[in-house]
């Protein structure tokens, strides 16, 4: 029997409100750990070899005919190429409809006084620049640990989360994937329990013993 060991390539804590990014090599796993519970982790994916090949929320939910992401969900590009797969999930469902908070959308949702609060799009832009990404490369993202039900009449909204301290999900990269993250700084809705907290990211490669 071929037992598998893991070589940890990276183990980092993302401070509250901060961006993060890394390339997860094909075959490697990324654990995202919600250290303190109910912390939305906004996430975009790009093929490391060609950033034009990027995560498509629409292609992903169409292929699985379900809006929620959980174990078994294949995170796809526009052309339906698999970037990553959710291989373990201790929460049950995650959002990919509601997008990222921005200073601009905050003015609509909460009022003009929130204009200069920190927001996920600020994190995506700042972190994306390090990889040559720009505003044009930002699309509908994944919100790990965020709970967004859609009711029968179409009413949708961010409601209290289903995560808890220490809950984890695991992604496997199907191709070399650039993972861009905003540890959500939002303080005007329950996606972070009104208190943004750190999360932990662990990238590990399986190696035969």
């Amino acid at each position: 029997m071929n037992a598998l060991a893991h070589t940890v390539l990276l183990d980092e804590t993302v401070p509250a409100r901060s961006p993060w990014s890394a390339i997860v090599p094909a075959g490697a796993r990324l654990d995202i750990i919600d250290l303190h519970g109910n912390q939305a982790v906004d996430c975009l994916l790009y093929s490391a070899a060609d950033h034009a090949e990027r995560y498509s929320a629409q292609a992903t939910i169409t292929a699985q005919r379900n809006i929620f992401l959980t174990t078994g969900s294949v995170l796809r590009t526009d052309a339906s190429t698999a970037l990553m797969t959710v291989i373990a999930d201790e929460v049950g469902n995650h959002d990919t409809l509601a997008g990222a908070c921005s200073q601009e959308s905050n003015t609509l949702r909460y009022g003009h006084h929130t204009r200069h609060q920190h927001a996920c799009v600020e994190n995506f832009l700042a972190e994306g620049m390090k990889w040559g990404l720009s505003k044009r490369d930002l699309v509908s993202n994944i919100n790990w640990f965020m709970n967004v039900p859609v009711e029968a009449d179409g009413t949708l909204g961010i409601v209290d989360g289903r995560s808890a301290p220490g809950k984890k999900l695991t992604l496997r990269a199907e191709i070399d994937t650039l993972v861009l993250v905003s540890n959500c700084p939002q303080i005007n809705n329950p996606c972070n329990g009104f208190d943004p907290t750190p999360v932990r990211m662990v990238v590990a490669q399986e190696v035969p013993e």
Binding site: A52, A57, A98, E104, S105, L108, R136
Partner: protein, 249 residues
């Protein structure tokens, strides 16, 4: 003997075609002066249109034969890096299903267009384009210097999708021949439209009519009383007036 063997014959042959054809255009609204119409095109299955439209343009899309599927992307004409943000378009109004009064929001907290009339109610902001529509939208965008990465998430008109409590998606089809939707632009936009299959509904697509006319007075009408919509109007008006000299009186 060929009638196109020489340049003279080929030219005559080419020129004779326009006269011999009968273009079946869209039916124009009867209450409109021809001079107000800015765009009128019948888009065949698999076809697309790409149009730059002024602020205050009313766009009527008609499912003439009952199986059109209009995939839309709107970009701000003078700055196409500002474009339709489908996530904000469902999140900000707290509503996943498009119908009358729904704003199509840009990523900058502004309204590119409002859905101001809708006799269908079967639309989809969740699934995006299938392969044919995606290709058509890329072609439409290329004619404005846009690259594939500029083609973000889109919405589809005339094919409904509904979400079950467990998150499952169910296509609900169209509503039959003659359904129409009208959009009102709040900013100058580049409108990309592809008429192609919905990814969860393989019903063969039929023709789509698109007619647009100048209707700046319609911007004075309030389409929604929601506070989020009102603030989106404020943001939009502020940006427009900041960028344009006051018109002479």
């Amino acid at each position: 003997m060929s009638t196109t063997a020489s340049t003279t014959q080929a030219r005559a042959h080419a020129r004779s075609q326009a006269g011999a054809s009968h273009a079946s255009g869209p039916d124009l609204p009867e209450d409109l002066a021809a001079a107000d119409i800015r765009f009128a095109q019948r888009i065949p299955p698999g076809g697309y249109a790409n149009i730059v439209l002024a602020r205050g343009t009313r766009i009527r899309l008609t499912d003439t034969h009952g199986a059109a599927c209009a995939h839309l992307l709107l970009l701000r004409a003078e700055s196409p890096w500002e474009r339709l943000n489908v996530a904000d378009t469902v999140k900000v109004p707290w509503q996943a299903y498009l119908s009358t009064g729904h704003p199509l929001l840009s990523d900058q907290g502004r309204i590119l267009a409002t859905l101001v009339a809708d006799s269908s109610g079967h639309h989809d902001a969740l699934c995006g384009p299938g392969p044919a529509a995606r290709h058509a939208l890329r072609m439409a965008g290329a004619k404005h210097g846009l690259e594939p990465r500029d083609i973000g998430p889109t919405v589809a008109l005339f094919r409904g999708v509904r979400v079950a409590p467990d998150g499952a998606l169910t296509p609900t089809g169209g509503t039959g021949a003659g359904a129409c939707v009208e959009l009102l632009t709040h900013l100058p936009v580049t409108l990309l439209v592809a008429n192609a299959a919905h990814p969860l509904d393989d019903t063969p697509v039929t023709e789509l009519d698109v007619v647009a006319w100048h209707a700046p007075g319609d911007l004075a009408h309030t389409s929604s009383g929601d506070p989020e919509y009102q603030r989106a109007v404020e943001n939009t008006e502020q940006a427009w007036h900041a960028a344009h000299l006051r018109e002479a009186r």
